[in-house]
Symmetry: C2
Subunit: 334 residues, 2 copies
């Protein structure tokens, strides 16, 4: 699984007229399965487009990311000939990240790989300097890479008839949805939950939008809440105690089909992260997937106001398992 030089931009329709003709994206290639996944680039914390902020400073930053950051990153990745992500992510798990809401190590390791390559490339020095300041100032810079990497892993598991493996979870601030590999592209949705978390100064749960975003794709890949044992320090960002962090990872072993041998957890004697959520086990045990997540303000224009821990709603899983049973029965009836 490797990050590829980002030459082809993903054109994000609604943004076309506002920000720039195109928005740069990470491209993550799953070489073993031949599929690719994409994500835009992380803007940082606070007032950012992905949390609903759209003030001039937010739009200026997006324009800069398209015109300065993208060419430098593309030149660095060209110089590297792509960048293997699994070893980097495995190392970050040994450095206190869960690679969803804590990316301090992964972002540092990515910076350590990209900067020397950028300096060897033809990119202009002042552009590299500006990118160095931007990336070095953002502990969450790796998050979007982690999302695309998780998506690249999980997309390889789509289309397995009869299987109750969860291949996607996502939320949009109104609904929470999941997909099963045995149910194709169908989403099973219910109302998105509110997040109990730690709020930035001046904000509280009363200001919060319900759970929102695509980043919980990392949890299905065995990261985030599933890998919290690796990241005791994250409780200062999402709440709870280091013991809760260990307990989260251990609890998730009851609803997963296995462990990811490439992603090991030092505090648990180097066992792999629990990975591969089985919707039937969720329904059988009553244990729902734990998610570390950022919290957006309920009004547009403000952005992220906190972070916390939430759960995927059970209703998605009961619907999905019922639908899968119908599929299987229909197939058997032939």
């Amino acid at each position: 699984m490797a990050l590829e030089p980002c030459h082809d931009h993903g054109v994000v329709g609604p943004m076309a007229g506002i920000v720039s003709p195109s928005m740069p994206v990470w491209i993550v290639a799953n070489a073993a399965h031949g599929n690719r996944a994409y994500s835009n680039l992380n803007e940082g914390l606070g007032k950012v487009l992905r949390f609903g902020a759209n003030s001039p400073d937010v739009l200026d930053r997006l324009r800069w990311m398209g015109t300065v950051l993208q060419p430098v990153l593309a030149a660095a990745l060209d110089e590297l000939g792509g960048l293997e992500l699994k070893p980097l992510m495995a190392q970050a798990l040994h450095m206190g990240d869960e690679i969803h809401n804590r990316n301090a190590a992964a972002s540092s390791l990515l910076f350590r790989r990209l900067l020397p390559a950028a300096l060897r490339s033809g990119a202009a020095r002042e552009d590299i300097a500006a990118c160095a300041d931007f990336i070095a100032g953002n502990d969450h810079f790796f998050l979007n890479v982690s999302m695309a990497a998780s998506k690249a892993m999980l997309d390889a598991a789509t289309g397995v008839a009869g299987s109750s493996l969860v291949t996607a979870m996502a939320r949009n601030g109104v609904e929470f949805g999941i997909r099963l590999t045995g149910c194709g592209d169908r989403w099973f949705t219910t109302a998105a939950p509110v997040v109990d978390g730690l709020y930035f100064a001046g904000y509280s749960v009363a200001d919060a939008a319900p759970d929102l975003g695509d980043s919980c794709i990392t949890e299905i890949a065995g990261l985030g809440g599933f890998a919290m044992a690796a990241a005791p320090a994250i409780v200062q960002f999402v709440g709870g105690t280091p013991d809760d962090a260990l307990a989260s990872t251990n609890e998730m072993t009851h609803i997963t089909l296995g462990r990811n041998a490439a992603f090991t957890l030092p505090p648990l004697d180097f066992v792999g992260t629990p990975a591969g959520i089985d919707a039937r086990r969720v329904v059988d045990t009553g244990i729902t997937p734990v998610i570390n997540t950022g919290i957006a303000h309920r009004e547009p224009g403000i952005g992220q106001i906190g972070a916390g821990i939430t759960r995927a709603p059970m209703a998605c899983f009961t619907q999905a398992v019922a639908a899968l049973a119908t599929n299987v029965a229909r197939t058997a009836a032939g």
Copy 2:
């Protein structure tokens, strides 16, 4: 406690004719107490001068460090106006380092601070690129900064009459020595122990020199073996299990005078690292300080052949406490 621009070089006498007229050093200033400490720059693992290797490639690297690395680092630190070390070290402890034999996070964080500054400085691009490759390729780059920072903290504690606080531990491959604040500059020495550790491929304990080096100054400052709870992944480098790592930190609380509130340990609910070794408590409890250490080959020219865990020998502490008792009795007798 801050890293200062390294304009004044420490001239290391015996090296003068061999390597270069001077060898660059880190300068760590303890602003609160007005003292400074120094360390040379880390050369990496394997064949390096500090582990007894002196082949042409080792000497070439040292010359490069004096002529290319030093000016770039000096320019970057000038640009930064110095660099506060305590927050960086505290963050590294939250990222799986114990900041003695595991410096992957601290080295990454230092790189993240230095590189953007170097790019803003007048340093030549090709020199910055070479330094970026060198630093990014060395997970132990921060070690020597950690040593000087520990020394700067402990030197501020010298000269307290009647106190059994340990202010230094060091070994030279033959003897192991300690100093007490209440006994001035006197060293209390005994034979250096052999280190039970993990050896690099092709080497074993039969090849090992007895314990060697100044880096256990970090243990007295509450890092290294005393902070192993922060660094479960280090057991892959020095041996043992993650439970042993927690136990090491907990055991050291019985021989220390307090905890360093600036250096907290997420896996132990964010308590501070045990710090301030009391020689009397070592003698009273029979618990000797645990040290994470590199292992040198017993023959010159080969360098580091492994890493492991060892203990400071009890004989140093019994001698030191007896001498302190004599000092105190003499003072009381007037």
